[in-house]
Symmetry: C2
């Protein structure tokens, strides 16, 4: 008799986007002519940069000719792409990496979801709260979290991030083994300075913990003291895995390419206390369960690193960050408490007048016809907060802020 | 202290291809001018069909324009592709499937590797022997197999396939819960008829087992009584998940697209005896840990289903099957025992004179400068066998057989 993995049944239903859709549909039924603007979703809207388009077309042509056709590639990704990542994203920041320390993948969602597989079941997991749900859900599925009781999993250490601590998580009081950090943060849009991040690296070194560092929004950092890579912090290569993505810097959300750095000096332990390199485990995981990213897509990603490509992604990021500025300034101008938006494409706001997240959702939809994301969807500490994103086009973003300024009753 | 997943340490090192490379390199050092022909690898050599190339170029152009740009798509794949799969691959064989019963993925390797996640740890796994190593290794990693003792994992039921049973596995004597079947088979190139497959479906129905049916080589079936889908067998929708791929029928080994069918009527059980739909669990797995196949690649796969695309992949398969015929006939003509090659691109041969697989590897390399794959690499019952593949180009395939006929000392 085949048995299911019952850990899946511990997951509370993911009602966030279904509930949003339901309320939007109800609203539409009542007001069919309303022009709804969506500022809730973390998906990009601008097309792929021209350099990437050229790279993709060239690669497609190569696949049409027996002499240049590519079959199975290395599961870890092609060296032509990894070398450019090292030379462009890491070496200029004083970080040296070997080719076999970077693994190209089809997305950070896959990697941050799969990474927990190489760790034992008996690790204590810490997540910031609010959080990107994949970190938590994948650990639930693996059986690492215990039961869901009063809105929290009993064996998970939640690190609240809120206005009181300016969205900087405090070190946990109990010992933890795996720590998920997302900087710049989704959903709060906030960051950690080098000295703030150093506290976490030091904690991990002292406690032999591993930091799973999601830097998917690294390209949006504008301020100089914010680290782009955790490896800018001394000793981080001994304690951290870093996740990067082409989704948000180059518009690859529907094109699918990302990479993960697993330094060879990073160890975790066996039950009997022997250190074992995580690079070797991740390599075994990827070579056994993954067959690499399409050659065509890797050539598109490579084009991101040409001088033209670098210029074009800078312009792309600047476009979205101008949106972020418009949203941030607009919300502040009417007296709302606003966070993020400076080094990230996410704007996190406190719902006014102690409204809860869903009350503010309804108010914003009814009064301004704008759809955002209730903060509660990202965890208990998201209660009373609300997320807007800068990934819309300029016209919609400006129109939305104009409506908020003139139609929202505070 | 972060702990590793120690199940990974149970895996014996994957020395097969490393050992092949070592022996080939030694040979090259001795005979630098030898013209080595590789007939060992399951990778295609012909370029993508022109219809696919057109589909890819068009999709790249769509990604360059804000009006047609695609960001995040459905994790399960686009309906435009799933609808064509149903209409072309299933409906003409009398199999009706709903759109939400098919999940597009980046490869069958990923899917056959990840599928075990939705099952509990306490399932008994049966694999045919020899076998595609991913089925076994991913269950080892998950902790479902026990220790590796005398070349076998102690909790896995091995179903020997050899010349004595004409490579048709016998039903297991002990009760099993998850059964991996690959038809047409990699590595043996053999198949099961409808009545032979029905025995397995009936077993699964009686024992509430689940069959994980890898049909990656379905397009190579030439004979009429061989089922292309397990759902041609009555009742299979209640017991089987089917894996299909564009890798071998359309040359997508480096382009990465496949799909998996999880019928909504397929159930597995909780410990307390409640039936639970596996479709729902796989959907949760995919939406949590995967973000879909690139839009561009899905458009390339869609082009496989145009009338031109269908004609072109038929020609591609026919090309490789002509190679398979050349190899099969050539080997038979010198008196070797040869299996497969009729409904599959794999030719499985018995090493002559009771040689073991590696002895024959060395003999073939030394006397004919041809590289194949020792059968032992696929499991204990592969001992004394050897795999050749039909994926080379015609010139090399003909030259290889000519050499075997004239230079191999039997």
């Amino acid at each position: 008799m085949a048995l299911i993995n019952e850990n899946y049944l511990k997951l509370p239903g993911s009602y966030l986007f279904a509930e949003i859709a339901k309320r939007v549909n109800n609203f539409k039924a009542q007001f069919p002519d309303a022009n709804i603007i969506r500022l809730g979703i973390g998906d990009v809207t601008k097309p792929l940069p021209p350099a990437v388009i050229d790279g993709l077309h060239q690669a497609v042509d190569e696949m049409a000719d027996e002499k240049t056709f590519r079959g199975y590639g290395p599961e870890q990704g092609y060296a032509f792409l990894i070398e450019k990542i090292i030379a462009t994203d890491y070496r200029p920041r004083g970080i040296e990496l070997d080719i076999d320390e970077i693994f190209i993948s089809d997305g950070s969602k896959s990697d941050v979801g799969n990474i927990q597989e190489i760790f034992g079941i008996n690790n204590t997991v810490a997540i910031t709260d609010p959080v990107y749900p994949v970190y938590l859900d994948t650990n639930v599925m693996a059986g690492r979290t215990g039961q869901y009781v009063n809105g929290k999993f009993e064996n998970v250490v939640y690190l609240p991030c809120n206005a009181e601590n300016m969205f900087r998580p405090k070190l946990p009081k109990q010992k933890v083994d795996l720590i998920y950090l997302c900087v710049p943060n989704n959903p709060t849009g906030t960051t950690l300075s080098k000295s703030e991040l150093k506290v976490w690296v030091d904690y991990a070194r002292e406690n032999r913990a591993v930091i799973l560092y999601d830097a998917a929004y690294e390209a949006y950092i504008q301020e100089s003291d914010i680290p782009h890579s955790i490896y800018e912090i001394e000793g981080a290569k001994e304690v951290a895995i870093e996740f990067r993505s082409f989704s948000k810097n180059a518009g690859f959300t529907g094109t699918r390419c990302a990479f993960t750095v697993v330094p060879k000096s990073l160890m975790a332990m066996t039950q009997t206390g022997d250190a074992y390199p995580l690079n070797k485990l991740w390599n075994r995981r990827q070579t056994t369960k993954f067959n690499g990213v399409p050659y065509i897509i890797q050539k598109g990603a490579e084009a991101v690193y040409s001088p033209t490509g670098q210029q074009q992604i800078k312009e792309l990021v600047a476009y979205y960050m101008t949106n972020a500025g418009i949203i941030t300034e607009g919300l502040k101008s009417i007296g709302l408490q606003v966070y993020g938006g400076t080094n990230a494409p996410y704007i996190w706001l406190k719902a006014p007048n102690n409204m809860d997240s869903w009350e503010f959702f309804d108010k914003l939809l009814n009064e301004t016809h704008i759809v955002g994301t209730p903060g509660t969807g990202f965890g208990p500490s998201g209660a009373g907060y609300f997320r807007l994103t800068a990934f819309g086009n300029r016209e919609n973003t400006e129109a939305a802020i104009q409506r908020i300024k003139t139609q929202l009753k505070l």
